[in-house]
Amino acid sequence: MRANLVVRFVFIVVAAVVLIWTLFPVYWLAVTGVKTQTDVLTRPPVWLPNPDWHFYRDLLTAGGIATGSGFFSLIDSLIISSGTTLLCVIFGAMAAYVLSVFPGNVPTGGKSMAYTILTFRMFPPIVPTIPLFWLFYTLGLLDTHASLIIAFTTFNLPFAIYLMKTFFDDIPRPILEAALVDGYSPFKLFWKIALRLAIPGLVSVSALCFVFSWNEFLMSLILTATKVRPYTVLLATWMTSMEIAWAHRAALAVIGIIPPILLVWILRERLVRGMTLGAVR
């Protein structure tokens, strides 16, 4: 009984430490965002400031020095992430469907394909970024949404295909064969049967693609300049003529955390089911 209590106590202490360790940066971020200009860098720090929302107001409404860049960077990120997600899901699902259901129509039966696809994700992102810079420079696509959508799609599509394929693989073959006998064309089979049965996979893939693109920094930094500026880039580089905009950055970061959390929250049930469905084979 006593030993039990001790174990419990130790467990709670450890859990509390881990929790504080993990959540402190988030807390610090949130708090910094609502401090007044003078409180941001004072010593000793202000732990629980009287909330001042003017940085958020600056970000989300017109007015104030940083207005345009903060608000529009979020819009930029949203456009880029949604575009990437859409392309990855559409092409990923179609490619994965063919690899899974008609491997005979793919060179080498699709066996080396999955491997090739995965190796695509193995080298560090900076390696292809330099050539991509020149490529987009030549095409006149630098500093556009398109450049980042193309770049992110290139990198997320292999992963999307690979993950989607496990979901198509999980559909019992007789269902697909019955559909072929029933006269479904390969495309109709994809659209009316296979895709409907792989919806958990679709959800997982979209969530992951969105989060990857939303949080991407390195390529965004190199391929954009002034017209397009994803919020991750702005977070790292935001300065005004007066100061390094710490509070603005904090506010922007807090807003930036929200979409992925919201997305995962909305999709959580399908996501969890999707993850386990894909994993347990």
């Binding site: 007789p174 072929l180 006998v181 029933d182 006269g183 064309s185």
Partner: protein
């Protein structure tokens, strides 16, 4: 009039020959069973006919069309899978309508046919349900309905009873017969269970190791199995097979099975000369041995009960005669104590004889 004919269909998976030169012709409106153990090639043959696999060689004709190269959807063949393979996200109605939608029929025509089929299979009340809300037997009906609704030239059934409970099986057997009789649907039915073939088939093709061992009317295959495999496989409980050899003693012809002898003199004229002296296998169906606990009129064998096995409402008594164990069918529930002395009377005409080397039937 043959509706389906396969000629020289061969299929190889790696080193394994799944089908070897299969020639089968199925009459329109007939119920044909492909009977054989797992791995005999039944499913492969059905899948090739449906167009889900390509044969390495050979051709398939349906009516006067060569369908060998056609995609599955254009063959006018319906198929029921062992696992039912319903579309889980569609209602029963949508499941039944899907082949018709693909045929681009009008909405009214689709509705009419779905209603007809569901009425025939007595599932009109289930139309708005999803497959997961149905019992196994009901799912099976939907799967059958989906194959029937399009009025295909041929309906393929791949072990449709394997995943069902014992009780539903006999109901479904009746259902399949009704389907064939009332709708004149041509049916090709693959099963490992001889009882399916006995209960439903007009004709039986017994398959083993990718070959058709015998193909004939059900009753002919049963009463005249062409080889040891067919004899042992087709029949429930299985035929007794005993190694033996003929011996001539003066005018008499005696079958010597080590543990017992049987006087074959009355049938001497029907035994080919070359069979005498060569190694043979005697085949005796369990129902052709008459068990009695008192000494009957000859001819008979005598032995001791080894075990009584009650199956449903009949009994299979295992009897040791000398060194061999014979299965004997008793059409009643009886538990005869082990060790009880019993007599087995027989009719000579009922015995089968096979060449031990080739397995081929001698008589």
């Amino acid at each position: 009039m043959p509706t389906l004919s396969t000629s020289g269909v061969t299929k190889q998976y790696g080193k394994k020959l799944a089908l070897e030169n299969v020639n089968l012709s199925v009459d329109a409106g007939s119920f044909t069973c492909l009977l054989g153990p797992t791995g005999a090639g039944k499913t492969t043959l059905l899948r090739i006919i449906a167009g889900l696999e390509k044969p390495d060689s050979g051709a398939i004709h349906l009516g006067d069309r060569d369908i060998t190269g056609l995609p599955p959807g254009e063959r006018k063949v319906g198929m029921v899978f062992q696992t039912f393979a319903l579309y889980p996200h569609m209602t029963v109605y949508q499941n039944l309508a899907s082949p018709l939608t693909n045929m681009k029929l009008s909405k009214d025509e689709i509705d009419k046919r779905v209603k007809e089929t569901s009425a025939f299979l007595r599932m009109d009340k289930l139309l708005q349900r999803k497959p997961r809300e149905l019992s196994g037997g009901e799912q099976q009906r939907v799967a059958i309905g989906r194959a029937l609704v399009r009025r295909a030239d041929l309906c393929l059934l791949d072990e449709p009873l394997t995943n069902l409970d014992f009780k539903i099986r006999s109901d479904m057997r009746f259902e399949f017969r009704r389907m064939k009789d009332q709708l004149q649907q041509t049916i090709l039915y693959a099963t490992p269970d001889p009882e399916d073939a006995l209960a439903m088939a007009d004709k039986v093709a017994v398959m083993n190791n990718g070959r058709i061992e015998q193909y004939d009317a059900m009753t002919s295959v049963y009463s005249h199995p062409s080889n040891v495999f067919v004899a042992s496989y087709f029949g429930q409980p299985a035929m007794n097979l005993i190694d033996c050899v003929f011996k001539e003693e003066k005018d008499k012809l005696v079958l010597d099975a080590q543990s017992f002898t049987i006087d074959f003199t009355p049938l001497k004229s029907s035994i080919p000369r070359e069979a005498v002296g060569s190694k043979l296998v005697l085949g005796a169906r369990p129902m052709h041995l008459q068990l009695s606990t008192q000494k009957p009129d000859p001819p008979f064998l005598n032995g001791k009960v080894y075990l009584s096995e009650v199956l449903g409402s009949v009994t299979v008594v295992h009897v040791t005669v000398g060194d061999v164990l014979l299965r004997v069918f008793v059409s009643a529930v009886r538990r005869i104590p082990s060790g009880t002395p019993v007599w087995l009377s027989y009719e000579l005409e009922r015995f089968h004889l096979f060449d031990a080397q080739t397995g081929k039937a001698i008589r």
